[in-house]
Assembly symmetry: C2
Homo-oligomer: 220 residues x 2
C-alpha cells in the first residue's frame, strides 16, 4: 500500500508543476519506479489519481482547522489569548500564517495545482476561494474582531480592517509561489506591513510612546 501513496505524492508534484493535462501516466509511474500499466493496479485511471489528491487534501484541511486553526471557524476559544496581544505577537500571527501556507510542502503543491486547474473545473475554483480567501478572511476577521472588542485595536469596520491585514499576506504569497527567490524580501515586507498595520489600527493608548516621534499625529 506504500506504492499507492507514493503515486499520489509524485502525481501531485508533477501536476503542480505542469498541470494535469501535461503530465502523462508514464511520467508519474517513472517517478514511482514502476511502469505505467502497473499503476492501473492501484488507481482505476488518471482521473482517479487526481480525485484522490483532492480527497486527501480535504482530509488535511480538516486536520489543519483543528490544529493550527488557520482556517478554523471557532475563534472565540482563543479570545483570551488575543485580548492582550502585542505588536510582536501580531507579527508572529502573520508570520506563522504566511510560513505555513508557503512552506508546508503538501499545501504548497496543492495550491499551485489548484491555481493551474481552477478554471478547468468550477469545483476547484470553489476550493481555492474557500481555502485561500474566504476562510482566512473569516477566521482572521474573528480574531481581529476580538482584539477590537478587547480594546487592543480600533476600527469602525472590522471587515475592511481584516482585508487590510490579510490581502498583503495573500499577495506576498502569490509572489513567493511564482518567484521563491523573493521569499526573504517578502518576509521583510510582511513584518513591515504588520508593524504599519498595528500602528494604523492600534488604540491611541497603546502607542503613546510612538507619538513623541510623530509630527503631531494621533495625540492622546
Amino acid at each position: 500500500m506504500d506504492t499507492k501513496h507514493r503515486i499520489l505524492e509524485e502525481a501531485l508534484t508533477l501536476f503542480s508543476e505542469k498541470g494535469y493535462a501535461n503530465v502523462f501516466v508514464a511520467d508519474i509511474a517513472e517517478r514511482v519506479g514502476i511502469k505505467a500499466p502497473s499503476l492501473y493496479k492501484h488507481y482505476k485511471n488518471k482521473q482517479a489519481i487526481f480525485d484522490a489528491i483532492i480527497e486527501e487534501m480535504n482530509r488535511r484541511f480538516l486536520e489543519q482547522a483543528g490544529a493550527l486553526r488557520i482556517n478554523g471557524t471557532d475563534a472565540s476559544v482563543d479570545a483570551e489569548i488575543y485580548k492582550n496581544i502585542s505588536e510582536d505577537q501580531l507579527i508572529t500571527l502573520g508570520n506563522d500564517l504566511f510560513l505555513y501556507f508557503l512552506h508546508d510542502e503538501y499545501t504548497r503543491r496543492f495550491r499551485k495545482m489548484l491555481t493551474i486547474e481552477q478554471f478547468h473545473d468550477k469545483k476547484l475554483a470553489d476550493v481555492y476561494m474557500k481555502q485561500y480567501v474566504d476562510d482566512p478572511l473569516s477566521y482572521q476577521g474573528m480574531l481581529l474582531g476580538l482584539m477590537v472588542s478587547a480594546g487592543v485595536l480600533q476600527t469602525e469596520n472590522v471587515e475592511i480592517m481584516t482585508l487590510h491585514f490579510y490581502s498583503p499576506i495573500y499577495m506576498l504569497l502569490t509572489i513567493c509561489d511564482r518567484e521563491p527567490k523573493r521569499e526573504a524580501e517578502a518576509l521583510k515586507t510582511l513584518e513591515a506591513h504588520i508593524r504599519q498595520f498595528n500602528m494604523l489600527y492600534a488604540r491611541n493608548e497603546n502607542i503613546v510612546q510612538d507619538n513623541k516621534k510623530k509630527s503631531g499625529r494621533r495625540k492622546s
Copy 2:
C-alpha cells in the same frame, strides 16, 4: 487577413477558459468557422497561435502604459493632478484601475490564461508578475509618493502604504476572476477599502471634520 486575427481572438477565449493543453486546434477552427487544416495557412502550428497572443498583449501593454498610465513608469507628469486629490478622486483612481483590469475583455482573458499557464513557462510567470504585481506597485507607489510629498497623505513608509492600497485591489480582482457574481460585492468592498485607506493615511488637517465623529482618535 481578418481570419488571422479572429483566430487569435477565439484562441485566447478558449485558452483562458480551458488552458492551452485542453484546447484543440479543431476547437479554435470551429469557432472561427473554418476547418482545422485551413488554420495552418494562417499560423505555422498551435504554439505559433499562442506566441502571437503573447506578442499582441505585449503590444497592448505598451499602449496602455502610454494611454491609461496604469502601468506607466512616468508618474511625475501627473504630479500636479494628485497634489490636491480628494477622497472621492482617490476612490475614482482605485475604481478605474479595478474596472479596467476587470472589464477590459482582452486583458481579462489574457490574465486568466496567464494564471493557468504561468507555471508551465517561467517567462509567463514573469509577465504575470510584472503586469499585475510589480508595475502596479511601482506606478501607484509613485502616485502615492507624490501625494505624500504634497501633504495630502502621510506615512513614513510609502512602499507599505502602496501595498496597503493595492493588495486589496489585487485580491478583489482574483476573487472576481473566479466568481464574477461577486463583482457587485467587490465594488462595495473596494470603495470601503479606499475610504478607510484614506482615513488611515490622510494628514490630520484633511480630516478635521471627521474627527468630530471619532472617539477621541486623531485629535488636532
